[in-house]
């Protein structure tokens, strides 16, 4: 892998706790000395947060589609009717 990708892997190993204890200490020392590295670590953490946000959004859309299917497909109508009845006053 090219250097920039190896750097991404190293930061990932740090963020996910995959480093061996000795390597983790060295990495933390590098972060103290190098503000650029600290920024890169933060950017990569932000990237994982964005991936989670994107993934949740996609998963919610899949679940909403399941809900629509249960509401409209004939084989599930009996099930949904029982649910609707729970809300009848």
């Amino acid at each position: 892998m090219r250097t920039s990708l190896n750097n991404i892997k190293t930061i990932e190993d740090h963020l996910f706790g995959y480093h061996a204890p000795g390597d983790a200490l060295v990495f933390e020392a590098r972060m103290i000395l190098n503000s650029g590295l600290r920024d890169e670590v933060q950017q990569q953490q932000n990237t994982y947060d964005v991936i989670r946000e994107y993934s949740r959004k996609r998963l919610k859309a899949e679940i909403a589609a399941v809900q629509t299917k249960l509401t409209h497909e004939p084989q599930h109508l009996g099930f949904m009717q029982k649910i609707i009845n729970l809300f009848k006053k």
Partner: protein, 180 residues
């Protein structure tokens, strides 16, 4: 506890969620109804509970609870009580969504960034989702996304991560420029 399960496709997830609806939604709806909520609220809260449940069972090393119905009902009760407290404080419900492990200083992605990722970067994002959110085994990801082996899939993952990171960086810079 049963062993961890992997859902490799949207079709497999659909079967999984339909099963959970059939098992747990009647109890959840009964609870919400008893608490004075509506059908729509029951549906919304159950959808959030399913997201929470999915994230729990897909986490590395996680196991599936044997009593899924009780587990989902527990999550729902928790979400309902949070929603009730938020409503008392007059906060919009969307602000207290099921983000149980919110990271400090997390900035929600802007709509512009999210739109870009959903369109131009979709293939990359779907692969990153498979790695970091669905936690699928690397071999399955290689097959799903058409890579010849683990190594090429891993390189592709880091290339995607780099591409998205640059976009996120660009976005955060323009955000910083905007607020300064």
């Amino acid at each position: 506890m049963a062993e961890q399960i992997f859902m490799r496709s949207a079709a497999e997830r659909e079967v999984f969620f339909i099963g959970l609806y059939k098992k747990a939604f009647p109890a959840v709806a009964r609870y919400v109804s008893r608490m004075g909520g509506s059908l729509e609220q029951a549906q919304d809260i159950f959808q959030d509970a399913l997201v929470v449940y999915y994230e729990k069972v897909q986490a590395p090393g996680a196991t599936v609870p044997q009593n899924e119905k009780a587990y989902l009902l527990g999550i729902t009760k928790n979400l309902w009580s949070q929603a009730y407290k938020a409503a008392c404080k007059n906060q919009p419900l969307d602000d207290m969504q099921a983000d149980f492990e919110a990271v400090a200083d997390e900035q929600p992605a802007t709509n512009k960034l999210m739109h870009y990722l959903e369109t131009a970067g979709q293939k990359c994002m779907d692969m990153l989702r498979a790695y970091y959110y669905d936690h699928l085994p690397a071999g399955d990801i290689a097959t799903l996304f058409g890579y010849s082996g683990l190594r090429s899939a891993t390189v592709a993952k880091y290339k995607c991560l780099e591409k998205v990171r640059d976009k996120v960086k660009e976005n955060s810079l323009s955000y910083a420029d905007f607020i300064e």
